[in-house]
């Protein structure tokens, strides 16, 4: 009885994850998921990594950041440049890791001074940081300036997307269940009380910011090696807003909300492809409608966990038993 309360056993959890992976992999092999759908899936999974990591900073730690595109671009450019020189799978992984670490270092250095600011001031500071990174990439020779990098070999595939997205989600949800994660959440709840309870608030804001930047760097690297081409303007202000929209729509403080919103928004924009002129208008209109009826986001601060699968299983076996 007690075991049922704790959800799925770790073994079953892994089985569910592997099963999901295998099914999509099979559908890709059988060409039921075509190239176009694959690109959509890549966008969804990259957005999931971005949104989940921004949610750690904004939704859980309560620090309003508009600089996620900046961290993403660092990961993208480092991985892109590495791949143009070492076009192997080893180069891809090395570039991805270096990019993520570099994004984390920049996040740490930028976070130290700016995270003393609050609310809108922090938002402006992170926005400025992200713009500076973009302008550096436009002006550097090695990044080929405004023309961008092209011909980056593709190593990002379904397996890497899945592993890194699931890895990011597991890592961040683990973090949130640890004393360090709880320290971050307490800052969102009440910064003065958190400090009075012995929590070094600056340290934990910077920690959340650094982890978030690291994951954004991974997302950038996956992006670089999927879409062949990098341009500094891809990583402008609007990209940060895109990620923020996913976080707010899914629910600040809900990881599964971010996942859900990333999928939902991709589906909506795919459907809207047919209404080319009105696409952005309808998209914005839908967002407004959702926010009017669910101001706390799709999930609020609740989570869908593996319990859902257990409950589904329970429901099915109950029906069988009923017959």
């Amino acid at each position: 009885m007690k075991k049922r309360m704790t959800g799925l056993t770790p073994l079953r959890k892994w089985l569910v994850l592997i099963f999901t992976f295998a099914i999509v992999q099979l559908l890709i092999q059988l060409n039921i998921i075509n190239d176009y759908l694959q690109a959509t899936i890549a966008t969804i999974f990259i957005n999931i990594i971005l949104a989940v990591s921004l949610n750690l900073i904004t939704g859980f730690t309560g620090q309003f950041s508009l600089g996620h595109a900046g961290f993403m671009s660092i990961g993208a450019y480092v991985c892109g440049l590495t791949l143009l020189r070492i076009p192997t799978i080893g180069g891809f992984l090395a570039g991805l890791l270096t990019g993520a670490v570099l994004a984390a270092i920049v996040g740490f250095l930028v976070g130290l001074p700016t995270l003393r600011l609050r609310g809108d001031y922090l938002a402006i500071a992170t926005l400025g940081m992200s713009e500076i990174i973009r302008i550096v990439f436009i002006n550097l020779e090695i990044t080929n300036g405004a023309a961008g990098l092209s011909g980056i070999p593709r190593f990002t595939n379904w397996a890497f997307l899945y592993i890194f997205a699931v890895g990011t989600i597991l890592l961040i949800s683990n973090f949130l269940k640890s004393t360090h994660g709880r320290a971050c959440i307490s800052i969102r709840e009440d910064e003065i009380a958190a400090e009075a309870m012995g929590i070094n608030t600056t340290k934990y804001k910077v920690t959340a910011f650094t982890i978030g930047a690291f994951c954004a760097g991974i997302a950038g690297a996956l992006y670089a090696s999927y879409f062949y081409y990098l341009n500094p303007n891809t990583f402008g202000f609007l990209k940060s807003i895109d990620v923020l929209v996913i976080v707010v729509l899914g629910g600040m403080g809900s990881l599964s909300g971010s996942v859900l919103a990333a999928i939902l928004l991709a589906i909506i924009s795919t459907i809207l492809q047919d209404f080319s002129d009105l696409r952005m208008v309808i998209y914005a209109f839908l967002l407004i409608i959702i926010m009017i009826f669910r101001p706390q986001g799709l999930m609020g601060s609740k989570e869908i966990t593996f319990k859902v699968f257990r409950n589904l299983g329970g429901l099915l076996s109950a029906r069988k038993g009923g017959k």
Partner: protein
Amino acid sequence: MAILSVKKLTKSFGGLTAVANLNLELNQGELVGLIGPNGAGKTTVFNLLTGVYEPSSGTIVLETEDRRRELQGQKPYNICKAGLARTFQNIRLFRDLTVLDNVRIAMHQNANYGLLSGLLHLPSYRKEEERLKKESYEFLRITKLDSKANELAKNLSYGEQRHLEIARALATKPVLLLLDEPAAGMNPAETAQLTQLIKWIRKEFHLTILLIEHDMSLVMKICERIYVLDYGMLIAEGTPEEIKSNKRVIKAYLGEDVSNAGD
């Protein structure tokens, strides 16, 4: 032995001196009251002691058996680490978190595992989390909140929220506890229960307690010594009996005319 000695503590906000030349001394194990009319600067004193405000001048020294620390100018989390915990007058719980998490967060400095172990849930994480949970439940049992461990803090009744503030402060394992109006808004029965709790935790945890309170029956009943503050200055100090009959205190509370009429 004086566990806390405050000397010439002053805090000015622009032209306004909220606390002026305050001297306080708390002995190990004492239960001391800090009273005064509204706006006398009592909460400012707490904010100075816990590092929310930096003093304009003066010293705050915390002396335990093994260490002597100067607290003025320190960050609040370091002061908490040194052994000073507090509750808040205007309840500052982590409202959207569970009762259990409120206490667990206060045990943060007591958690013995690193960031990596937290990210990967290594064995040291599991072992420590188990211990933290168990200890948190003990603090909840003391304040009779263990049956509500999984409720959100904001859904507790007012009296329960005040109790949770105390449980949370205790979880930081302090040597000196500052209680800011713990009985505010409570009915007489709840106040009586709170009185028992304060007496009990003081004995159980060998605490020294400094208490701000407006409920005079509570203050007179449990405090061994009382400091009286008015306009940021200390106007009296003594046992409850001495304070009750002190002319300056009566004047501060009731005004000049009344005390004249009494003569």
